[in-house]
């Protein structure tokens, strides 16, 4: 297969970016999207130009490191896959493919298609955990959890932190990401003692870092490679309101 690629190139955070056009040919339909970029990069190095920089690691759809905005969609046209699991058979021969980085104020560009997503870690650090230190915990079966709740918590916990939800949202909202973690811990008994503090602190941090609010377009849910449900956002809103109205605890630690 042959393609024309329009790729965003930007040398560093401050430099001015631009689209560059590349032609690539003889690509197998079984090739993954990132393998196609590997082939492009090898040809660029051969010509002594700087290869296109993009984040990637596990290449099996679980680490959340890769993330390209392809033809107007985070992770491209296929559903429920990350960029690394997108295959060229999903494009038509001769197609022009536009590749951009995630675009959101809290995700500054580092180089080309690589953005800085440490803002997501900073939100987790505000309370996306149970404050159990190592040792001194009860037996695993001492905490009974209904299968239904455990499965639901698992669905929320399967978020990979790629940031596609933020990239998809016109407000650059991180609500789906934050609510997935809030939900996982709100569904489980282990998360209950800190639930009220957690949701308030995480939401405050999210606002603080410049992520926008949710206006219920659900682009995040549509583009999420792990199919995290928007009902998580509803649950987080409920948790948040209850915490604000009813909680007597201080959010200070």
């Amino acid at each position: 297969m042959d393609f024309t690629l329009k790729i965003w190139r930007q040398e560093n955070r401050k430099a001015k970016g631009r689209f560059e056009t590349y032609k690539i040919s003889n690509i197998s339909p079984d090739c993954s999207f990132l393998e196609m970029l590997d082939i492009l990069n090898e040809s660029l190095v051969d010509k002594l130009s700087h290869p296109v920089c993009f984040d990637n690691d596990c290449r099996e759809g679980i680490c959340g490191m890769c993330g390209l905005y392809i033809n107007g969609h985070p992770h491209g046209p296929d559903s429920a896959v990350t960029t690394c699991q997108l295959h060229m058979r999903k494009f038509s021969d001769g197609e022009t493919i536009t590749i951009e980085p995630w675009r959101a104020k809290p995700f500054p560009i580092i180089r080309d298609l690589i953005v800085d997503r440490t803002a997501l870690d900073k939100i987790i650090q505000e309370g996306g955990y149970v404050s159990a230190t190592t040792g001194g915990v009860p037996d695993g079966n001492a905490i009974l959890i209904s299968k239904h709740k455990a499965d639901e918590a698992m669905d929320s916990a399967s978020c990979i932190g790629c940031g596609a939800c933020v990239a998809a949202c016109k407000n650059a909202s991180a609500m789906l990401f934050v609510s997935a973690k809030v939900s996982q811990l709100a569904l489980l008994p282990q998360g209950k003692p800190e639930a009220a503090i957690r949701v308030q602190n995480m939401v405050a941090k999210m606002d603080d870092l410049g992520f926008g609010n949710c206006t219920n377009t659900y682009a995040c849910e549509a583009e999420c490679p792990k199919q995290i449900k928007r009902s998580n956002i509803a649950r987080m809103n409920r948790e948040f309101i209850c915490a604000k109205v009813a909680s007597e605890e201080s959010t200070k630690r």
Binding site: C31, C63, H87, A132, T134, V137, N141, A150, M154
Partner: protein
Amino acid sequence: MNTLNSKIPEGQLSEKWTKYKASQKLVNPANKRKLDVIVVGTGLAGSSAAASLGALGFNVKIFCISDSPRRAHSIAAQGGINAAKNYQNDGDSVDRLFYDTIKGGDYRAREANVYRLAEVSNSIIDQCVAQGVPFARDYSGMLDNRSFGGAQVSRTFYAKGQTGQQLLLGAYSALSKEIKAGTVKMYERREMMDLVVVDGRARGIITRNLQNGEIERWGAHAVVIATGGYGNVFFLSTNAMNCNGSAAVQCYHKGAFFANPCFVQIHPTCIPVKGEFQSKLTLMSESLRNDGRIWVPKKIEDAQAIREGRLKPTEIAEEDRDYYLERRYPAFGNLVPRDIASRAAKERCDAGYGVGATGFAVYLDFKSAIERLGRDKVEARYGNLFQMYEKIVDVNPYENPMMIYPAVHYTMGGLWVDYELQTTIPGLFATGEANFSDHGANRLGASALMQGLADGYFVLPYTMQNYLSDQIYESKISTETEEFAVAEKSVKEKLEKIMSINGEKTVDTLQRELGHIMWEYVGMGRNAQNLQKAIPMLENLKKEFWSNVRLTGDLNSLNPELEKAVRLADHIELAQIMAKDALQREESCGGHYREEFVTEEGEAKRNDQDFMFVGVWEYKGKDQEPVMHKEDLKYEFINVQQRNYK
């Protein structure tokens, strides 16, 4: 001369760890605050160690090669984590988990370490539950288990097919809490470039900031290497793209011994290679072997017809299928350990019975499981794996058998460590896949997660204190010393040298050549002739790298080509000791299969008389031959037997 002291405590096996903990030295809280610890790597082993040490009150700095600890490749582990809980009442115990692990490792692991691993396994499950890890539950609300290769009990805890992800996110959450508390400081997008040794002790590291190329110095009272394994020496493996053995090689160069480099695990259930463009291989969890049946056609002409696309696997009658694992190993069937399942697949494909376009694939079939359990139940158990398979291969595995082939997956070898997980350099510790200690010549499924977390949560917080208790008189480690200056200078010179070569071959091209040599000559089936061929080939490749590699970009900015080149240079060195180690080990054991040493039935034949030792390699300097030391393995509590899964 034997310089290796494994420091195994005296006494009965079951009392060693208890006694150690009772008599080890501690550090008081006021002094903990004054002691600095560096952890390199943020996977299960690194994150759990950093979180636990931070919670104890030490000053921890943790270095991550990616943008976030959650990217570490522990995240990709699918199947589960073992523990000796015996929740199923099926006869499990610490002793049995210990025994299975030693046997699975083909009697090449250290008894005391493995026993401790089995002993702390139960605490890991409790810890993870407390963190909110959503393990699978049954309808009573209790934890569910599944069975795994190499065991006859159900002791594997799991979270769908994403157990590694959930455990890593658990460790990451514990780490995040400590980062917030200020006990751990996180440095992302940093790669270790060298270890700094001062007066014989590990005192810090040199890193490269991958975003801007800056070379940085960091001092500490102790350093932990938690950088995983070196499977990417083979180029194609199930490891992530950024996984590398570079940090371990730097430590090896600075005097840490490297143990059993030839012990590499080839995983039997991976998606087969499709073409030259392939950048990595994808693993399908071993848990699939619980319900999937592995077969190839019985008739060679059927296999050929399939390869040529004239016949579909679903058209082959039951009696014309060879379920070769069930045939050869009736007791364990499809659940034989990984090394055995891998070799059996290779044996069938080499004999001409392989399927797929290349002939290097076998079937993993869920037809009978779907008939027995119903599609819904199969989907509930393996849904995400089936979906992943379909996305990659474009074939529906509910209707057609999956195709699988073995691929490099895990490295049992690693930095040599004693009972305290300390390397031969005082103050330098190695943990998780980066060390060698617990899996012998073959690792059982669901044991890597167990080991990474055991080391990080429950071993290092004790053993490192024992070391650090002597360090309270050392003030903060200054990075303005001669040793740091020399290390930084040598790193800069090395990077400048690589950038200035301006040769003809790209890093990827050379990496593929390395992978080809390793897979063909130091791969699944090894023999002296091939290994002797590989050694000069690797020497030539090393020369070619240092004279003919072609890079673009510059030193002072984000430059993935340079990152890959530095790792490749180290991987070639690792490949050399892997080949030498494989050549000296004139026996077949676990993942190391020497074609000259087999039983009449073609099974691996160990030689306990001459090779019941750990091969421990010492670096002797550039252009010098490394020297191998031996740590003799003594089995005092276990009866050494020929492995038999029939």
